[in-house]
């Protein structure tokens, strides 16, 4: 029997995401080639700097991957809740996980008035899904309905299913190493400059060169990572909407959460900013459209709503027979 599906993958999104990752890979390869070049020039101080930066870079990536759940929970001040403490929330997550056939993540609540949610953890077994008290609060004037909350949770579960923490950590590795190299090269210029003898001109050139290239690599990979992050958000919106079959509930949740974000005092926002990349909607908005968008971790609200409207139309059509 032919199984019909109306859940065709979004080709445009796939192409854009592939292109972004290809460019990141390209920058990475070019960067590694440079490092090997430096190593083969066999200048001890330059090679040493690169080596230390690599160790630090991989070390911090490893730590952030393995402790991402604990770090994010601690940063948000969240506590895990049992099904007895939050039966409603657990029931929604239970049903979504059964629909998606995935392991149920741990569930946590963060004590902040802001309306938001995030999911983190290196794999489905070690994931935690965290919502704020604000998003659960039924007394707020603009509170989320059960269906809208379900949409938000489905979006977050999609991040877990897509292994976004792993993908983004690996993607950020290059930027971390490049950023460290800039810093180390700078310090070695500051403190190591006096010790160089007259026959050491090569090193005097090499270290500023490393610094310059690293800075360029850092800037390019930073932009690529941000655009990758925006595509992953769109992908999570998409999977979340298809999972619940209610794209418009997710869309209205997006509007409500984004609106509530603008009313919150700045103090709270600044404190939440480091967690931005994990959140359902960004806690800190860059002003201005256009250029501001290429630095942001989340796509603009309009883009996200457009995509959901498209999915809504697809779900209403007669099923094409494309497995």
């Amino acid at each position: 029997m032919a199984t019909r599906t109306r859940y065709a993958p979004d080709k445009g999104l796939t192409v854009r995401m592939t292109a972004t990752m290809f460019l990141l890979g390209l920058v990475f390869v070019a960067f590694v080639a440079l490092i090997i070049g430096v190593m083969s020039a066999a200048h001890v101080s330059a090679a040493g700097i690169v080596f230390v930066a690599l160790i630090f870079g991989f070390g911090s990536a490893w730590v952030s991957l393995f402790y991402s759940d604990k770090i994010a929970l601690a940063a948000a001040g969240a506590r895990e809740v049992t099904p007895q403490q939050a039966p409603q929330l657990h029931a929604i997550v239970d049903r979504l996980c059964a629909l998606a056939d995935m392991d149920k993540p741990r569930v946590a609540i963060a004590p902040t008035r802001m309306m938001n949610a995030f999911a983190t953890g290196r794999n489905s077994k070690n994931s935690v899904l965290c919502v704020t008290e604000g998003i659960l609060d039924q007394n707020q004037p603009n509170h989320l309905t059960n269906e809208e909350l379900e949409g938000v949770l489905a979006h977050e579960l999609s991040h877990v299913a897509h292994k976004d923490v792993q993908v983004m950590t690996i993607a950020s590795l290059l930027a971390i190493v490049a950023g460290l190299l800039v810093r180390f090269a700078f310090y070695s210029e500051l403190f190591g400059g006096g010790r160089r003898g007259g026959n050491n001109n090569q090193a005097a050139l090499l270290i500023p060169l490393i610094m310059l290239v690293s800075a360029v690599v850092y800037a390019i990979s930073f932009l690529l990572i941000r655009s990758l992050s925006r595509y992953r958000e769109l992908a999570a919106d998409r999977s979340g909407a298809l999972l619940t079959g209610q794209p418009s509930a997710l869309a209205s949740a997006l509007v409500k959460v984004s609106n509530s974000m603008q009313r919150i005092p700045t103090q709270d926002l600044r404190k939440q900013e480091p967690l931005n990349a994990f959140y359902f909607a960004p806690a800190l908005k860059l002003n201005g459209q256009g250029l501001g968008n290429i630095f942001s971790t989340h796509p603009s609200l309009e883009k996200r709503l457009d995509q959901l409207a498209k999915i809504q139309r697809q779900l209403g059509e007669v099923a094409p027979d494309n497995r």
Binding site: T3, P83, A98, H162, K163, D164, Q312
Partner: protein, 195 residues
């Protein structure tokens, strides 16, 4: 999910497994003989309705189809309810000894959704049992896993379930049904219609 699906951030919606449902009638006989739990004759299919008219039409067609049996007098009309989580339950009521007819009804709902491309929306199916002291038991079939698990609610408000009965039933039926081995997936369906 494959490597490329992770890389490209896409999930293939999970198609339901339908065939194992037909093991229910013989399992019900076994359960009745070994534990005294008899089918109440009611069973339900739970799914997440998709917004829009297409899905609403399919749902209407399938309830009309099932109600045709009721007009002939061989079964009771189906009930359609929506729970507080936004999931739809189609409840079919038969005589307690008509397990085959009940499973056929439930399967009609499944195949209507699958044939129209909405298979991934199916959550679970539930068949209700009761024993002489009026204790309730539901056998829940998880479409995505193709497995069953028992759910024995004691008190809805306090969210108590009788784990002893559930474990006992798991043991009794492990030869007849594919029982879900991961206990974390035995999620409670409080207030499920028909239970």
């Amino acid at each position: 999910m494959g490597f490329f699906d992770v890389l490209l951030g896409r999930t293939k919606p999970v198609q339901p497994k339908l065939d194992d449902l037909f093991a229910l009638p013989s399992a019900a006989v076994q359960l009745q003989a070994a534990s005294g739990f008899t089918p109440t004759g009611s069973g339900s299919v739970c799914f997440r309705a998709v917004e829009g008219k297409t899905f609403a039409d399919i749902q209407k067609d399938v309830t009309e189809l099932l109600d045709m049996d009721a007009e002939k007098g061989t079964a009771l009309p189906v009930e359609v309810t929506r729970d507080s989580y936004g999931f739809t339950w189609i409840v079919s009521n038969h005589m307690s000894d008509e397990m085959d007819g009940l499973v056929t009804d439930l399967h009609a709902v499944n195949s209507a959704l699958v044939d129209n491309g909405f298979g991934p929306q199916l959550l679970c199916t539930l068949v209700a049992f009761r024993d002489d002291s009026n204790r309730r038991l539901g056998l829940v079939y998880l479409y995505k896993r193709g497995t069953f698990y028992p759910f024995a609610p004691v008190n809805e408000r306090l969210q108590q379930r009788d784990n002893a009965i559930e474990i006992q039933v798991k043991g009794l039926l492990s030869d007849d049904l594919k029982i879900e081995q991961d206990l974390a997936r035995w999620f409670p369906v409080w207030g499920a219609p028909g239970l």
